[in-house]
Point group: C2
Chain length 291, copies 2
Amino acid sequence: MFGAIEAGGTKFVCAVGDELGTIIDRIKIPTTVPEETMAEVMAFFKKYDLDAIGIGSFGPVDVNHESPAYGMITSTPKLAWRNFPFVQALKDAFSVPIGFNTDVNAAALGEAIHGAAKGLDSCLYITVGTGIGAGAVVQGKLLQGLSHPEMGHILVRRHPNDEYQGKCPYHGDCLEGLAAGPAIEERWGRKGFDLVDQKEVWELEGYYIAQALMQYILILSPKRIILGGGVMNQKQVFTSVYHYLQELLNDYVSLPDLTEYIVSPGLGDDAGITGSLLLAHQAFTEENRRK
Amino acid sequence: MFGAIEAGGTKFVCAVGDELGTIIDRIKIPTTVPEETMAEVMAFFKKYDLDAIGIGSFGPVDVNHESPAYGMITSTPKLAWRNFPFVQALKDAFSVPIGFNTDVNAAALGEAIHGAAKGLDSCLYITVGTGIGAGAVVQGKLLQGLSHPEMGHILVRRHPNDEYQGKCPYHGDCLEGLAAGPAIEERWGRKGFDLVDQKEVWELEGYYIAQALMQYILILSPKRIILGGGVMNQKQVFTSVYHYLQELLNDYVSLPDLTEYIVSPGLGDDAGITGSLLLAHQAFTEENRRK
């Protein structure tokens, strides 16, 4: 039996289950400060006899096993969590193998094994919500190089009629700065769910996301793209994405029908927590191989 | 002993050597039509008793082993080579395992094993010349998904003072359309080597390449970036790249010193042919494993 944590900026989801994605218990915990939040996490897991725990965490995190900061949340704007030794804290409490990656890499893994990219050795999972993040499975493994991807901050070309300055504290009008939830709210002066009938809002959203997908496709060539997160609940954004992406790519690369290639998460809101169970399973398997 | 082909749009380089990168014989053949060019390739290799042949080819090519078009050059503008069954032609003539990938993936592999990224399990190789292409090694393997990467065609933001319309037949002002050799020549009215003293030419070049590197870094997080190709022989472009990339990333991701992170090919012009020898070696090893 495995434990899983989907650690988000506003809430933690903890679950107990198996690598098939079966969940037998779960809990939501508000993200406050590590002392409080983690105390509740520990109390929840203590009820079970776990073989391993998997963490899909908000970031940036250090996922490089050779780094002294491995397993830590690093330069997050959430100051209480900066340099929090996530892996070590759980190892100290449970003495089991701990899997650790970004929330979006966990979700990509969940979707690749049990969700919309089941059976494929490659997929890209993107969440468009409070922020924009993406994780990828490449040739069967979670994408990792020097660090984990930070795909939400790529550059896009501004729409000629869009005068909104952008909200990213680092890059101003990068993708996240122009297209995440807070940017939508600030640009149009209302929250997304009050804008449902404003066609131009979601058309523009698709305009920016399509550009991002063009870059991801030309660079990574994923076998399927999964678009999740609160903003993507506006299904009209998909229509806009298909339209602009077709126009941008101009048949340069051959892709499956876009409506089958770019889809919603097969696991709905459970992509991240399912992926975290898989991270636990991977950590467990690896530990046993080492023995 | 292995054979290697670096198949370019204007010339083929063929070599005989080993997986350590030692080359004992090589030849250059102009790229005309398959009947002519391949006849010379065959004649060159017939002199040797080869265990396998590796091909790093101009593209697009089909590198998907499960595809019926595997081993072919596909939709190239060089009409005589369209649908040329590269792998099959060599298999028919030599009955040895054939390794096959893009020219830039071959070069990335060469640099990862014997060049500027030696000892790393990840690197990105970019060539800026007649076209712009890139290959990548990710977690020790050549990057491949639905197809091979087509990174030269990503979108960049135009410089506000650049009025050149771009030269890409598919996307107009994508990276290749704005920054490859032919675009430089058309924009400034002279060939690159007549523009060596025009600081603004290379500054603008760096402006576009830096944007591309930003996207590549945020998406792939390579452990080292190797910038080759004719245009990059203008070392002043590196200075401009470092400057703009620093500005664009704004310390959002932590990178090694840029002058050590973004470098020239360690193998010089031999990255591609060395990588093709390694593709031969891989094909040979795989074939033996299967037996």
